[in-house]
Amino acid sequence: MFGQSTSPRFRRAALAGTLSAGLVFSLAACGGDDSDSSASTDASASAIDCSPYTKFGDIKGKTVTIYTGIVTPEDTPHKESYKPFENCTGATIKYEGDKSFETQILVRAKAGNPPDLAIVPQPGLVKQLVATGKAKEAPAETAANVDKFWDKAWKAYTTIDGKFYGAPLGASVKSLVWYSPSEFKDSGYQVPTTLADLQALTDKIVADGKKPWCAGISSGDATGWPVTDWMEDFMLRTSDPETYDKWVNHQIPFNGPEATAALDAVGGYLKNDKYVNGGLGDVKSIATTTFQDAGLPITQGTCSLHRQASFYAANFDKGTKVAEDGDVFAFYLPGKDANTKPVLGAGEFVVAFADRPEVKAFQTYLSSDVWANTKAKLSSGWVTANKGLDPNNLTNPIDKLAGTILLDPKATFRFDGSDQMPAAVGSDAFWKQATAWITGQDTKTTLDNIEKAWPK
């Protein structure tokens, strides 16, 4: 999973192509791994306070179906985390993971055969699902949990025409810079806390005769998406989150002075031959290096800094220790000053298509701090922005870092912007033009072209 952000839409598109091949296939071959979670072990069956859920009535023996794109092996901790709910209420959760979730969920909703609950990885898709008229508003109890445990920004992503449709579930942090703790220690580098510090650090590394940054944006026909993340991160820093929202929703033009400043700031790093591309070539090599390979030069000592989301941890070799005292680790991409902390990220939302008591009860469980902590203890490579989460329950160091960043009261979270823009921009023009920009096109032409592609 390279991005809960840009990728799923592209994947969805790719699947739509295959899917149109025939009804026969969709009849016979869809649905993925499907199992009953009560069959799994009792490892996590710690008792929880059941009163918030029994309030919905006696739901013993009832079944709730949940449909997601989360498949093996990440599905196991999910199923395990439902155990406490099942044990105390007597309800059964039927988990269905499917790699083609993003196309299938729309097909199923439109065909009138939706699951009770779906874990949707982007706000854009939630909007599409609500537009089918099959999605149900979230119960008041769930909304209350979201008000209590999440930053306001989160609720807004799934509030459509004043109605709230889905509580957030997991989250990921994109504002991270990967580095080598041992290199930092040996060379006396400090983790920067402001943008100016980051610039100073970069120059210092150059002065030591190294190429500080490495980057890569190649990703099949989604090539270019890592630049969109860079630009969004800098939009949050050179302007402010409010301007960012306006820019994402096209209330200010895509090619305005704010966006120009942001992309130029990115260019200051990515289009500077002195700064890139450590171990990988010149500026243009960014266009042909896959995003999976782009951060690996850090472990080979040919690159010092690589901006990529928390999921990048999975790309390092098995023997690489990802920890503050290990081979690689990440630091928060600093804000303008030490007190402003914008965080770019992504996440999933739970959307309901039924309003039976057992569904409402389970929805409420998933939005609670109880579930967040249960899930945290069970999984690795998972975080949430649920403020009820105790970061100490997270098991691996990078999750802990991501969790701490998300839960920092000074942090301002913003969802990946390209994911909320219309597809013609967010998964086409933005990627294409960003790639052209890396291979030599100037900032003005790039932004003008994207602005032109925005649907009227």
Binding site: G31, R108, D221, G279, G281, K284, A429, T435
Partner: protein, 327 residues
């Protein structure tokens, strides 16, 4: 039973049900057909046998075709009628013009080069000692899927920086380095990159051209060749006046077949560059507009354009075929 099956037994059951349904429909048709006899009956039986095909063609080909043409006059969401705007975009927008330029390069270069290479190779190895081995060698790429071939060639063109002890892993760049040059990012520079992608297509299609043409050459009657030999013609005259005229209908078929395949090329572009760096062609652009950019109208217009471009080739192909059958 029309719901999505979720467990394996359910899926198998559903598949069996579908097969039974198919058998039942066929049985009904056969049963009705058996009711008719005599001369008029033959006609009825013929129509009955044609019926499933006609129905499937209507549902699977004619209807979607008409629907696509209809959609091409609508906007991105498929809701507002915008006339010929999508077609205007294809012929005026800078990106789209690059797409057209690339498609023209592909269609001009691939069929002629692939056929020429196939023909020359077929003549060279004809009746030589290593004929079967030599033919197998050039035919092998045919058996590889476009995607696999693209992945192989991507490695051929692979670039590693000219930095410290970083070693090249791509053959082409390694040769450049051996010759004392600096490694080049081959797939970035336009229009060179389009030609590099074309090489992959020729690599695959030359084997096809060679096989068909070789069979045609073998079919040239021996007496003509012997007569020419007795007249003392040289190799060039033999090729120009005997071989080429004899295999000319086959050459046309090979050219047009490769031409159609080239117009539809998609896998190579998508696998190697994803249409980036100004390498996109009509089929790839159609896909990315429809499924990625969510612009159904423009996607449909591109599909229609592709359809219109293929028609003359197909028509020409059928005419030559008819003429050669008639003679």
């Amino acid at each position: 039973m029309f719901n999505t099956a979720s467990t394996t037994p359910e899926k198998i059951l559903q598949m069996l049900a579908a097969l039974l349904l198919f058998a039942a429909v066929l049985g009904v048709i056969l049963f009705i057909a058996a009711r008719f006899g005599g001369k008029r009956g033959d006609k009825v039986v013929a129509w009955l046998y044609l019926l499933p095909t006609v129905l499937l063609l209507a549902v699977g080909l004619v209807y979607p075709g008409l629907r696509t043409i209809y959609q091409s006059f609508f906007d991105a969401a498929g809701k507002t009628f915008i006339g010929l705007d999508n077609y205007t975009t294809i012929f005026s927008d800078n990106d789209q013009l690059t797409v057209l330029r690339n498609t023209v390069i592909w269609v001009v270069v691939v069929p002629f080069l692939a056929t020429a290479i196939g023909l020359v190779y077929a003549i060279l190895v004809d009746r030589s000692r290593f004929e079967s081995v030599a033919k197998a060698l050039i035919f092998l790429p045919m058996s590889i899927s476009f995607v696999a071939a693209s992945v192989i060639w991507k490695f051929m063109y692979e670039y590693r920086p000219d930095q410290g002890n970083v070693k090249q892993i791509g053959l082409i760049n390694q040769i450049i380095v051996w010759l004392g040059g600096k490694p080049v990012q081959l797939l970035i520079e336009s229009p060179l990159n389009t030609f590099l992608l074309i090489v992959v297509m020729i690599w695959i299609q030359a084997g096809f051209a060679m096989t068909i043409l070789s069979a045609a050459i073998k079919a040239i009657p021996d007496d003509i060749i012997e007569a020419a030999r007795l007249d003392g013609v040289n190799a060039w005259t033999m090729f120009r006046n005997i071989t080429l005229p004899s295999v000319q209908p086959t050459v046309v078929v090979v050219l047009t077949t490769i031409g159609i395949a080239t117009l539809k090329v998609f896998d190579i572009v998508r696998t190697m560059t994803g249409g980036q760096f100004k390498t996109s062609v009509v089929a790839n652009e159609f896909y990315s507009q429809t499924f990625r950019a969510d612009n159904q109208g423009l996607g449909a217009a591109l599909a229609v354009l592709l359809f219109i471009l293929v028609i003359p080739i197909v028509a020409y192909n059928i005419r030559t075929l008819r003429r050669s059958e008639a003679s």
